[in-house]
């Protein structure tokens, strides 16, 4: 089975390749890039990518698929379909499902379900501690053998520094990162939004930025102590960026991600939207100053990745009082257009830099042989239309909890190929 993607501009940052070229896929692998003669393309499925960018398939290092346990909010099938729509060919599933993915059987369940029902690559993240309760280490080594690519107690921060120390130490021998959701839950307790003038005016309980920053600082110190690989999830504050920047300069093995809402929205939206619970996110939306710092951190590579932190919730869960509504928003289908609209189109990042954050770096951090279009590698390819503008209205995700609903964004994936299989073409899902 051969597929020829013709007339597009191929951008493969890892190979420092960016020019108009054809891309030939054969048997699920990239075969060659360059001017491919129509003669050689006889009997080949041809995709016309005129006025399109042809890039390595996007990789989401942080999302929540909700299966097992909350199949009413999302399933592995629907989340992977949302991923296709958003241009992602690989996604990493966080373990805070019901039950928590803290054992080999859980990992096998996710992988097997993804194999049968999923339409993109799913890489499971295992729990750091049993039940993500922060007390005893989960079977990290056995889960690694079963296929996890990282560990994390996302959503349930590891408050005990000794446990975090052991996790970082133990993971060294498996060469997998510990993904830390940095939040001092004593400081953030019962918090609803960023602490400051707006929380005061709205009468909402504040979450001080220090709840995040203290744990970023702690975990960096522990990474230094142990030599383990630390990946900091969804950083949202200016000082968190500074801490990571400084740690990297000191040679500490730390990487970091942010999510699109931290460079596109501020806490003022909580007020402007009259307590719209789709603005309730953890960590919370911060200030303009933080947004600028996040952009600078992306620019100077203090922040390595942009992840969706896709967190589906039912309408009836979000249609509550602000205090009782759950944290989280969906993001698989809006991450790429937000990156293009807020970072690429206004010159904050080149497309190449954006692809580093959305594909190359996630692959590097997770030791995946992906994120490039080198001949012989998996044919995970995304076709981008940087000019297309759409209003965010419909989702492939089962949930609709997005603060970007109704917003006009520019730059979408209109083709997605996973392992040589065309799963979206001309913005139509084929799976």
């Amino acid at each position: 089975m051969k597929i020829l993607i013709r007339n597009g501009v191929v951008c493969d940052p890892q190979n420092k390749f960016e020019k108009k070229a054809d891309l030939l896929i054969e048997n699920g692998k990239i075969r060659s890039i360059g001017k491919i003669l129509p003669a050689r393309a006889r009997g080949v499925r041809t995709i016309d990518a005129r006025n399109r960018m042809v890039v390595p398939g996007l990789i989401d290092i942080h999302c929540h698929l909700r299966e097992p346990g909350r199949e009413d909010e999302e399933t592995i099938r629907t989340a992977t379909r949302a991923a296709v729509k958003g241009g992602f060919t690989s996604i990493c599933s966080m373990p805070n499902t019901q039950p928590v993915i803290d054992s080999v059987s859980g990992v096998k369940f996710v992988l097997e379900t993804a194999r049968q029902e999923g339409v993109v690559n799913v890489f499971p993240v295992g729990a750091i501690t049993k039940g993500s309760l922060g007390q005893e280490l989960a079977s990290i080594g056995k889960m690694k053998q079963a296929g996890i690519i990282a560990i994390s107690d996302d959503g349930h921060p590891v408050m005990n520094a000794v446990i975090m120390r052991r996790a970082l130490e133990y993971c060294k021998m498996f060469d997998i990162p510990v993904i830390s959701h940095c939040e001092d839950t004593n400081l953030s307790q019962n918090g609803e939004m960023n602490e400051g003038y707006i929380s005061t005016v709205l009468g909402l309980k504040g979450i001080p930025r220090q709840a995040e920053e203290i744990m970023v600082a702690r975990d960096i110190a522990l990474a230094e102590l142990t030599g383990g690989r630390l990946h900091i999830a969804h950083i949202s504050t200016a000082r968190s960026v500074d801490l990571v920047r400084h740690a990297k300069k000191s040679g500490i093995r730390v990487t970091a991600e942010t999510a699109p809402h931290y460079f596109s929205l501020t806490e003022e939206l909580v007020k402007a939207s009259n307590y719209n619970t789709n603005t309730k996110i953890n960590p919370p939306l911060r200030t303009k100053k933080d947004v600028e710092a996040i952009k600078r951190g992306l620019k100077d590579n203090s922040i390595d990745c942009i992840a969706s932190d896709h967190a589906p919730h039912l309408a009836e869960e979000k249609d509550q009082e602000y205090k009782t509504a759950p944290f989280g928003i969906i993001g698989l289908e809006t991450t790429l257009p937000l990156v293009i609209t807020y970072l690429v189109n206004n010159g904050k990042l080149t497309l190449r830099d954006a692809l580093m954050k959305l594909s190359v770096n996630p692959a590097r951090i997770l030791n995946l042989k992906k994120g490039n279009l080198s001949p012989g590698s998996d044919a995970d390819v995304t076709i981008l239309n940087l000019k297309e503008t759409r209003t965010i209205e419909r989702f492939e995700s089962m949930s609709r909890n997005s603060p970007f609903l109704g917003m006009k964004l520019t730059g979408f994936a209109d083709g997605t190929i996973v392992g040589g299989k065309v799963v979206m073409l001309n913005s139509k899902l084929l799976v």
């Binding site: 005061t200 009468g203 307590y275 602000y322 009782t324």
Partner: protein
Amino acid sequence: MKLNRKDLLGLEYLDKDEIDLILQTARPFSELFTRTVKKVPTLRGKTVVLLFYEPSTRTRTSFELAAKRLSADTLNITVASSSVVKGESLIDTVKTIEAMKADFVIIRHSMSGSAHIVANTISASIINAGDGMHEHPTQGLLDLFTIQQKKGRIKGLNVAIIGDIAHSRVARSNIWGLKKLGANVFVVGPSTLMPADVEKLGVEVHYHIDKIIPKLDVINILRIQRERQEQNLFPTLEEFSEIFGINSKKLVRAKNDLLVLHPGPMNRGVEISSEVADGKNSVITEQVTNGIAVRMAVLYLLAGGEGGAGENFDS
């Protein structure tokens, strides 16, 4: 003049003229109470639903009397608002009320933003009777009305709000209202009970009332809740009372005509001593009476009535 609004969710959202209009409209209503027949037919045929998710005697009865004195029909719905008890959602509840063709929904809720959620959901007029730590606009209005009644003005007065500012919706509504009408506002309380960036609201922050007591024209003493001590926001209730409680000793250097307000219910001997609560400077019972007039004015104006001083509501 008319108040062209569907809802009253907070004093933050009103401008000075709108607040003045409500206060002026409340005046003739308060005069009505001196008559033997305290009722006018203004809202005859209208239905006012009192939806209370938090226990409240004072505010609920005040609204109920206000509605009844305007000849509206009232309906009380009290919901146990324990988040543990999974009942009907707020949105479903108010949709049901809307289907019953209520004209007004007066809502009290323990969570900030609840009145907004209701106002965004249904077409009835919504009056916020206190939402979490956010606002309690009619309390703010009745405090303004009482101060204006006693002092003849608001502009230029030095007004201190004392106690648990962080958790107080009364404090927020008072700050917005007082600032819009030109008062100088001071907030006084423990540093642990000051909300973040409160000075950005244009208030002066003080931890010790002694420093400012001689210049104050009005003090508004907030109720302190016992659970704040359990949250380690201050060490003991005794210490709170010692340092922040208002007693006659603390008022020795105060102006003779200092007004003492308290939104109630009072913890006598904690944030306010009995001699102050019952003393010559206290206007706490007047606040209660004025509360009804102010709430009548709000209902009347939201119903589309023409307001202002000297109106005749009998016709």
